[in-house]
Symmetry: D2
Subunit: 346 residues, 4 copies
Amino acid sequence: MVNTIKVSVVGGTGYTGIELLRLLSHHPYVEIDHITSRGDVGSLVADIYPSMRGIISNQFVDPDKADLKSSDVVFFATPNGIAMNYAKKLLSEGVRVIDLAADFRIKDVALWEKWYGMPHACKDLLGEAIYGLPEINRDQIKKARLVANPGCYPTAIQLGLLPLIKNNLIDKNTIIADAKSGISGAGKKLESSFLMAEASESFKAYGIEGHRHLPEIEETLSAYAAGERVKLTFVPHLLPMVRGIHATIYVDAKEEFDVSDLYESFYNKEPFVDIMPASTCPDTKSVRASNICRIAPYRERGTNRVIILSVIDNLMKGAAGQAVQNMNIMMGFEEVSGLVLGPITP
Amino acid sequence: MVNTIKVSVVGGTGYTGIELLRLLSHHPYVEIDHITSRGDVGSLVADIYPSMRGIISNQFVDPDKADLKSSDVVFFATPNGIAMNYAKKLLSEGVRVIDLAADFRIKDVALWEKWYGMPHACKDLLGEAIYGLPEINRDQIKKARLVANPGCYPTAIQLGLLPLIKNNLIDKNTIIADAKSGISGAGKKLESSFLMAEASESFKAYGIEGHRHLPEIEETLSAYAAGERVKLTFVPHLLPMVRGIHATIYVDAKEEFDVSDLYESFYNKEPFVDIMPASTCPDTKSVRASNICRIAPYRERGTNRVIILSVIDNLMKGAAGQAVQNMNIMMGFEEVSGLVLGPITP
Amino acid sequence: MVNTIKVSVVGGTGYTGIELLRLLSHHPYVEIDHITSRGDVGSLVADIYPSMRGIISNQFVDPDKADLKSSDVVFFATPNGIAMNYAKKLLSEGVRVIDLAADFRIKDVALWEKWYGMPHACKDLLGEAIYGLPEINRDQIKKARLVANPGCYPTAIQLGLLPLIKNNLIDKNTIIADAKSGISGAGKKLESSFLMAEASESFKAYGIEGHRHLPEIEETLSAYAAGERVKLTFVPHLLPMVRGIHATIYVDAKEEFDVSDLYESFYNKEPFVDIMPASTCPDTKSVRASNICRIAPYRERGTNRVIILSVIDNLMKGAAGQAVQNMNIMMGFEEVSGLVLGPITP
Amino acid sequence: MVNTIKVSVVGGTGYTGIELLRLLSHHPYVEIDHITSRGDVGSLVADIYPSMRGIISNQFVDPDKADLKSSDVVFFATPNGIAMNYAKKLLSEGVRVIDLAADFRIKDVALWEKWYGMPHACKDLLGEAIYGLPEINRDQIKKARLVANPGCYPTAIQLGLLPLIKNNLIDKNTIIADAKSGISGAGKKLESSFLMAEASESFKAYGIEGHRHLPEIEETLSAYAAGERVKLTFVPHLLPMVRGIHATIYVDAKEEFDVSDLYESFYNKEPFVDIMPASTCPDTKSVRASNICRIAPYRERGTNRVIILSVIDNLMKGAAGQAVQNMNIMMGFEEVSGLVLGPITP
């Protein structure tokens, strides 16, 4: 018999927060304790998100007044720069912390401060924080008190590249990641470019001159690059749809190898990574509302180029789903607990 | 401890079939036995629906060769006119049958044959078949061997009208149901009007001169109409989206009453019907991928008109979700088993 | 040889404004004079709307500093309550005014002030202002100095009802207009419900307890109702698409008549109203980006109910296209000038 | 005074055909002669495409019975392999031919036959046929009798690469074109993957192991590559929207140069190519329903990589619009005739 734990969500009004609440609300071993939102204190979660009527009865509470230490795990589904102000105290009170924002994703403080444009308020925990990509850090996550949940683009791209990087099969200066994300990746931000009238029936690149997920990807992958520094060209694009990330990755191989075998054997024990059959292309809908990452590796004929297609649901394996996966690992639950439902089709 | 049952799905390649498989695959008390498809015998379900990779390992089998009597329950997610050829034999073998098509929805054989354009092959089971709308027939469903799962439009419209009809509060000749459905309601039919290039960014009415769901609604509601015959004006429309039905219903009331109180008290014990707060409108996204029906009743100021808004996911409460709800009731499972996950937001 | 005129657009940053500029930029007899926008003074129109790069070279100017009297016609594509502050002066300077907002649409001042929540600043022009629906007011528009361009819902609904109302064929208390609009009808408003993540893949009603277009429709139609007062039940809905309005109208007829003949003969000289063949339903895409209104009238079998389907592009016949049509009439141009391009398909 | 010409369209029922008809119907110097469709002989164009009601009164005629030689120009908006059977006879009758399919795009017969899987029926005209990309072949198009209208992907990609190739600035073995197309690019094909229920809210790559546009791009660009052979990695993707192509192109530069200056000066006389300001990204909506190609060139910091973004409307500059542009050039009309209307926004 597994014991039930209590969890709180700080920042429950964004899309990541509500997705987390959807998952937690039916997780077999979890009881939801507090849900905070500075802007909506006193409102019912179900008033802001009618989809949660009858499912979540909590009111939003003030994060500074909530008794967060009554929880076993606290998730931060907040903007960048919030969790770093709470983590130390919570850890000292014996609470485990999973940050879905970027505060603890990058070990290099100077790099973090440059990209995020603020001083880091909790440098001394950067060493302890575990980057929550279970496919590389499962053992460390088991013992972690503080997990930095990866970004959505980094998850799709890193899972696509890891078999090549870890086996030292590619030229690390040739990596191009052409990535496309559904609009929920932008969060609930009130900008005219995210209005349906603007964003639907349209497609564009953005952030070409620098996206915050670039240093995260480069730093994480470099740790597995046999002493080399991984360098990426990363171009994100905005898709006219809500959920889903598709990364198309181009690299130059240093030698001959069978890409299918490589990926199959690398991921064959992973519950949430699926290698597609040869000559097929995964579509983002095939992972929608699930925690699955599907990958199709290709070897171009007549050249040394390798092409990797990697798809996830940005709110699931790219955010809330992976956070629940990390919680499961940290708490000793079965890793797939609360994450078993199949993708929504059609 | 609840015993697990074996269930089969006849006709697993349509959208209703795959939705049913998604639900059954994680149902706590169900083991999937056979999945049939005349056109795809030998293919893996996961080859036709990559979203099911790693979730359903079955191959499609021939419905005439499958040992369906090994199952406790057989679902028919087939076109109209199929289940009526199998039901009798299955019942005689002790198998319970839930038909998601229209074969057993209408008691009046002549009416059925007129609208469905074929002779009925199993008239003697029409009397026994139970119309599977739990909100009116729960007790009969409990004991049923054969359940006729309601149509999608009928579910949304009937749930919207029942409190008014059963309490004899409206003029039964004034009912107008202006209904809108997502395109998954058309199934996986290869018609140019269902191509994305045609259907997206567009909206239209169809079937104004007669839709098969009209007699189903009229017959079912008439049974509760105090001896009167219920007559509907029913105009269906096609929405540029995949899932969801929104019925906007207009009726003339015969007397004064509080619509909110009426609906609240009528449905307060129902696990899947949610009455919205006054002055709010449910959106279809708030029920997407869930089995919930949300209803907002309005009384127009200064007139005797009542306006009812009723939303469901056509593939869930309008098809596969309701079928699982019916199975739960028939088998004595908790009614919400396998149907607890919240709507996908956003 | 037709002389070219100069026109200005006050409020060029909204969707109605940019649509007007698209049409005016290639109108054969028009030169664009000033384009104003209080919030974007000094920016190029093409900076805010890159689609206008190479097409419109104007900068936005301050409406209070622009020399608007240098124009022959000034369009107001502003929020409600702006044009009423400018109209008098412009008229006195010999400038014709077309207001695409609601300031001059309703003759009853008290009614206007109740629905629009502000005092009317220019009551003495209400009598002179012509309601710019060419299908009823063409002769008056020809001589008008001030035209009130109709609302989008009112255009679709009035064109759908006029043949019935003017011929006194229906019970004026039975009218129900179930109307659906694309999201561009909401303008460029930064509200979370208009974000693509919220609005796409969803459908809902709104404004059931009162929409500002209701009194406009009732007042205008009542003028043709043989002394009776037209009363509407009007329920607007939001479609998950950008452009298009579909009105489904239900009325009770007082006598027998052939609906197709009625509509065909009523509109046979109209350049922008198309009556569909019997038993067909117009889709909104068939009028997208055009000034056409397509109407399909139905007579329900066995009842006295008439059902009318009416579709327009809300930004065209529902706003900017109709404004250009009005300008053409006012200035003696061919009525279809600048409005000849066919709907975008697909 | 420009004389009007007569034009016919062979194959008017596809999306390219109907777009061509939309443009031709309001072209100032064109009269539509015949519109053929083998499958729809006798139907009105407006019956198949209600958007053309009141705009095009033609019936579809049989291509083999139509008196095509009465036309000055005949467009083929047919599948591949049709125009090659008609071209010779038409040319001998003094008719100019513009083929929107692939029959005359590739000079290398063996290459063509390999990729298109059929013998070429008109090899002797391959030499005469002009590849109809005005930005490189304007002078030849002026004198051409037979124009091969470029493919949609090739148009976007070639316009993006030409300044670099013609100026010999890049390593021709490093080109990667990650291209994304709206679903209208697939035509009106009845395949389940193009159904709205499947394609909307999803994104995927396809044709990775070989797309027919690849040899077209490589052959055309190689002609400008200073004796070198241009080699491309080309990965097309399917966007959940109707119109628009976005090519994201990655190349390694051989030297330092200012990309903005290069592109500005290369295209500054082109009526339909727009170079975006530095640090901006064009969205496909900014060219929708127009003949414009917008390009944004980037130089990556700290590397020798150049990134080019190029967007077009696949049915316009990628097909019908470019065909009209070619006709204008061939017939001596102003090049922008009939192509002046701005993109549809929003």
